[in-house]
């Protein structure tokens, strides 16, 4: 195979972004071979590309080697399973599913190692995060002790939520900021630090918007080795903060405002504490600024990596199976908040599925939908 024939399923905001990237030649050896959307008018915008209105048609069409699934969250599971069973390579938008049990079902459908199955965790391509990961993996930062991520620059307006009846509903998205905006951050969290074993979260539903799901979250995470973490997010705050602080024995890293600052301890902090004869001394430090330019190839890099994985067996940046972790973290935060208890991980997926189905069936919230408002400037969502 010299060229990947890719089909895009779902021509909403993200699907169109991906289609435009491929059509404008930004993804070498990747051809937009077909598209699929139930709305005929969405297909009409790409009149030179074969279009389908039903997912089973594009999957069985013989026109595609792979599909990119960019549909509403819940259908990632069903469409993903169908595509995998049909032998296609699959690239799925985040979150890979809405809840852990669906993730398990989707991942279980991936039986052949010859099939490439990836997830659109484009922020893994950002060198700020990959360099931090290197710093951790090489031991430069020492054993991790504390993590604090304030990621509240996901500001969304009432107009955003009113732009679709499915948005920010249990039935439509299965959650709020944790399921729609934060899968990236939660994926990076587990990619950088691994999975905690305890989650205690405080989610506020409809704090800033007239929605039934969480738009404001404070979560405390704990690891078996004692590492603690705090994750704070919101779609109601402007200007919003994006500051990731990581404390290791060898010093502290702060990622904020396009700067990567590392205050490096000359001696590990605990060793210094044990060995100094002085009560108020502290280790000598270096102020290290790690130069990082740009934020990587993002969506196009993931698309390119997916193409290369199929054509050249290049290792994936973001295997879809790893997408279960960000969903599990989001699920655990919501469950902890509603049950007012600490949730132990691994999360029991059946317990969460029952919880979520009950939220859906007992929902009485009347969502305000204003067809005149649109999420019109979607590219702003990932331009920062």
């Amino acid at each position: 195979m010299k060229e990947l024939r890719l089909g895009i399923i779902g021509l909403g905001s993200m699907g169109r972004v991906h289609a435009d990237a491929i059509l404008s030649g930004k993804i070498p050896r990747c051809r937009l071979a077909a598209i699929c959307d139930p709305r005929e008018e969405s297909l009409a915008a790409f009149k030179d590309v074969p279009g389908f209105t039903r997912t089973s048609e594009i999957i069985r069409s013989g026109k595609v080697d792979a599909v990119l699934i960019a549909t509403p969250h819940y259908s990632h599971t069903t469409i993903g399973i169908e595509a995998l069973r049909a032998g296609l390579h699959v690239l799925v938008e985040k979150p890979i599913s809405v809840h852990k049990a669906d993730c398990e079902r989707l991942i279980a459908a991936h039986r052949s190692k010859k099939q490439v199955f990836a997830a659109m965790f484009n922020q893994r391509t950002d060198p700020f995060y990959s360099k931090l990961r290197d710093l951790i993996r090489t031991g430069e930062l020492g054993k991790i002790r504390r993590i604090n991520w304030i990621i509240t620059n996901w500001f969304r307006t009432a107009a955003y939520y009113a732009s679709g009846g499915w948005r920010a509903t249990w039935a439509g998205e299965g959650g709020g900021v944790l399921l729609n905006q934060c899968p990236h951050n939660l994926d990076l969290w587990q990619w950088l630090f691994g999975m905690p074993t305890k989650v205690r979260a405080f989610c506020r539903t409809g704090r800033y918007h007239d929605i039934e799901v969480e738009d404001d979250v404070t979560a405390y995470l704990e690891y078996p080795d004692g590492t603690t973490g705090v994750f704070i997010t919101s779609t109601g705050e402007a200007p919003g903060t994006n500051r990731l602080e990581v404390v290791g024995e060898r010093g502290r890293v702060v990622l904020e405002k396009d700067r990567f600052r590392f205050t490096r301890n000359e001696v590990e902090m605990s060793e210094f504490s044990r060995t100094t004869p002085h009560g108020f001394a502290s280790p000598g430090t270096w102020d290290v600024e790690i130069p990082v330019s740009g934020h990587g190839g993002q969506h196009n890099e993931i698309l390119d990596n997916f193409t290369c994985a199929v054509l050249d067996k290049t290792p994936l940046i973001a295997p879809a199976a790893e997408g279960i972790h960000s969903v599990e973290l989001a699920n655990a935060m919501i469950l902890s908040s509603f049950t007012d208890k600490t949730v132990e991980l691994p999360l029991k997926s059946a317990v969460y599925e029952r919880f979520l189905k009950k939220k859906i069936s007992s929902s009485t919230h009347k969502k305000v939908v204003n067809p005149k408002t649109t999420a019109d400037d979607f590219s702003k969502s990932f331009a920062k």
Copy 2:
């Protein structure tokens, strides 16, 4: 009265700092009229000042109009009550007591409005905090929505904890970082933002040191109006962080590294969200840097203010009665952590007193004490 005759009770680290300040003339109209410490050798260092080894003697001596109590924490209550009953003006070091019930007893002993009763919350004199308070009080920051204080630059070494058998024990201090180092920060918290009604905390005892009390804390605080807060502290982290972020409807303030930055929203964030037709827009902002020079008069300013309060009826910067709040916050964090539950405020003081007495009576921890180590460079404790 033209001059305040002050007695200092307790010539440990802080008592000596205060004595030196007065003797070197830094506090106008305040004379060091007597000192008290059970250790004769401590008195000998100030040979021109009348010395007593028993608190009741200095209190009844007739040589002092006021006392500054700088003894170990638990005795603040008993000595404070004795001094107030004797009609003296009292300035008490922080914390005013170890637990809320003792605070109530101490405050109840202050019956005469003619008596000045103050607490050594020297950080209230820091213009970074007083300017922030002004910003909040004048409404410039708008309604407060979220607070995040990472105050982990209280690094203390094993030598520090080994320098006294009473240090970092339930019987000696009634807690760890929350009772010894954080009373300042917890006082500032309540002074700036008022008291929350819910506290859920995660304290780690002996995480970084061989001690029985907490040396690492993550706490989640909630207010009746929905405001959320996170307070993180530790004596085990180097280099440590001191970053206070306050999000209001009108923008965000960050105090860190001697900078006061205010990102000001042109329109309140919630109003903007409600009224814009755009899904991804956010309010225009100004980058405001508020110039602040220095960190105020600190201990000497509190001593001076206390002197002026007695001689001129100047209003107090830190009335002792307000000291109950920081103790209540510390107690609630410890109780929440040990009971693994959210604690509702106001805290039931008798419940906490029983809890603490049980911690003391059931303590089995063998504290390492090394008389060769000292908290020798104590001034570093508040020089930053």
